[in-house]
């Protein structure tokens, strides 16, 4: 195995050791079930509130564990790096956060995640009688959608959805309403990402793909997988167009729409570049006649140390803006609390 430029010990211990550090860093927000690798909101379950659970492979920090807390998730299940968690985790989390109002599973559309969450929901319903609904996010326009494929990946919209649905759940709304809202949010969001560098899964020990110094990958997901297209490096202005055009071109955006604009970093790209990119994105949106109601810029749904970024647009109405502005108090997103 080659050398890895990572701050780690044994690759097999990365996830469990990171969870210990996370717990030490955020004692006011979370508690961690280390055996099951579940990050719980400190005061879960909240009586009368629909429980919100997400989870997925690790390597996307702060997602999902960093989004546990008031106004967002009640629990997050951490899988191995880039590997969906197992049904036992979702089952344990489901039972733990169920406060009688049922539980929503927020699942990113990956074959593994979907199957593992499905098995958990079946088992939880059978065992404990907990009412479980699921929403699957699939906002990545880089992927051709079709009945005969695995469909689009769930990426940036997941972050926005967890915030918005989290605010709605905090208001005490019933499970079905929360699930419908989640579905509506997913339907109104689109994303597209690109990478300047690959990333290295600790257990694999070398970069998932090789990229020459004059190349970039366009249409990547969040698991270090290669993208749809390898292109020559380009200025930020051109990269912004490569990301924004397919997002805006896809349904449902049109002139006059209002959106939450989310400029996300893949983990290895510093904030100065994300702000610079966001400047380009805003100019493109202005030109398209799309109004930005709220912005989010930073590393929120990442792919280990990959350099690159993604753009997510979510079409919003006044209610969604209100839910966005509602208090949130998690390790990764915090305001008005």
């Amino acid at each position: 195995m080659g050398f890895m430029k990572k701050l780690i010990n044994d690759p097999a211990d990365v996830v469990s050791e990171a969870l210990r550090g996370m717990e030490a860093a955020h004692p006011d927000h979370i508690r961690v079930d280390h055996e099951n690798r579940i990050v719980y909101r400190k005061d879960a379950p909240k009586a009368g509130k629909v429980g919100l659970i997400s989870g997925g492979g690790s390597g996307h920090e702060p997602m999902h564990g960093g989004f546990v807390g008031l106004g967002m998730l009640d629990a997050a299940c951490a899988g191995e790096v880039f590997t969906s968690p197992v049904p036992d985790q979702m089952m344990a989390a489901t039972k733990e956060v169920d406060a009688g109002a049922g539980v929503l599973h927020i699942v990113k559309n990956y074959t593994g995640d979907v199957m593992n969450f499905e098995m958990a929901a079946e088992l939880a319903a059978a065992e404990a009688g907990t009412e479980v609904l699921s929403v699957v996010t699939d906002d990545d326009v880089a992927v051709q959608d079709s009945l005969y494929t695995a469909g689009r990946r769930g990426v940036g919209v997941t972050v926005l959805l967890e915030k918005l649905v989290g605010a709605a759940a905090e208001e005490g709304r019933p499970l079905q309403e929360i699930a419908d809202l989640a579905k509506r949010i997913n339907d109104n969001g689109r994303s597209m990402g690109m990478a300047l560098t690959s990333c290295t899964v600790p257990a694999a020990g070398k970069p998932t793909f090789e990229l020459a110094e004059n190349e970039m990958e366009v249409g990547i997901g969040i698991h270090g997988e290669p993208g749809r297209q390898r292109l020559p490096l380009a200025p930020a202005k051109d990269i912004a167009a490569l990301l924004v055009d397919p997002v805006v071109g896809d349904l449902p955006y049109q002139q006059g729409d209002t959106v939450i604009a989310f400029m996300n970093g893949m983990g290895g790209t510093p904030l100065i570049e994300l702000y610079l990119m966001y400047n380009e994105v805003r100019q493109l949106l202005d030109r398209a006649g799309i109004t930005v109601a709220r912005s989010l810029v930073g590393n929120y749904i990442t792919s280990l140390e990959m350099a690159g970024c993604s753009v997510t647009l979510l079409k919003v109405d006044d209610e969604l803006v209100r839910l966005w502005d509602a208090p949130v108090n998690t390790p990764g997103l915090r305001w008005r609390a």
């Binding site: 492979g57 191995e80 969906s84 197992v86 990956y110 074959t111 593994g112 694999a204 997901g221 997988e225």
Partner: protein, 210 residues
């Protein structure tokens, strides 16, 4: 050779498979790097290491209990796509053998049930560039061999050979399921990791259950 297979024989298969997957972990991950997320080898290795730990601790009374426990272990320890897929395979494979004598025919029916589990979970179709592209021809070859009078070892050898062909046939395919599908046309030219691990599984079975 033609004798009735015991719990020990099936346990030996799982142990042999664990060794094989451990030895091939880097290779499977490398295949998964090209068109996936670089974890298939680690996933399979983690799952079968856990199975060996279970074998070391528990004595199983019957083949079906052994195999169901293997399936549950995979479901609980692997995650990703391969965890539920192989987990469900072993769960249903074992369930189908409950109370049954181990014969080429009963194993064939169990294989079919196991593969049915993969179909239920993953909904793969032939040519989607998944492990099913190894499983489907393997089952056909197995049934053919049994129909032609083969014993268990012979039928498994035929299955393994067909799986290897199916695995190789995934190379030119454009993926429609799993992560490789995100690459579109760029997935062509690469061998599917899951079809590769399926072939290793059947080769190990042919070796240890002959």
């Amino acid at each position: 050779m033609g004798e009735q297979k015991t719990v020990e024989d099936f346990a030996n298969w799982l142990r042999d498979l664990a060794v094989t997957l451990h030895e091939n972990a880097a290779y499977l991950t490398e295949l998964d790097s090209a068109i996936g997320d670089a974890d298939h080898g680690t996933n399979m290795d983690r799952g079968f290491t856990a199975i060996v730990a279970v074998l070391d601790e528990t004595t199983f009374e019957s083949v079906d209990e052994l195999l169901k426990k293997a399936g549950m272990t995979l479901v609980s320890k692997v995650g990703g796509a391969s965890g539920p897929l192989y987990g469900t395979f072993f769960l249903r494979f074992g369930t189908a053998l409950a109370g049954a004598e181990i014969t080429p025919a009963s194993v064939g029916a169990a294989l079919k049930a196991g593969i049915g589990g993969i179909l239920t979970r993953g909904k793969p179709e032939l040519g989607d560039k998944t492990m099913y592209d190894a499983w489907a021809p393997a089952l056909e070859a197995y049934d053919g061999a049994v129909a032609g009078g083969s014993d268990l070892g012979g039928a498994l050898a035929a299955a393994a050979e067909a799986a290897a062909k199916g695995r190789d046939a995934t190379i030119p395919l454009v993926a429609r399921k799993g992560r490789a599908s995100y690459l579109g046309e760029r997935s062509a030219g690469h061998q599917d990791p899951g079809a590769t691990s399926t072939t290793l599984l059947l080769e190990s079975a042919a070796r240890t259950l002959a």
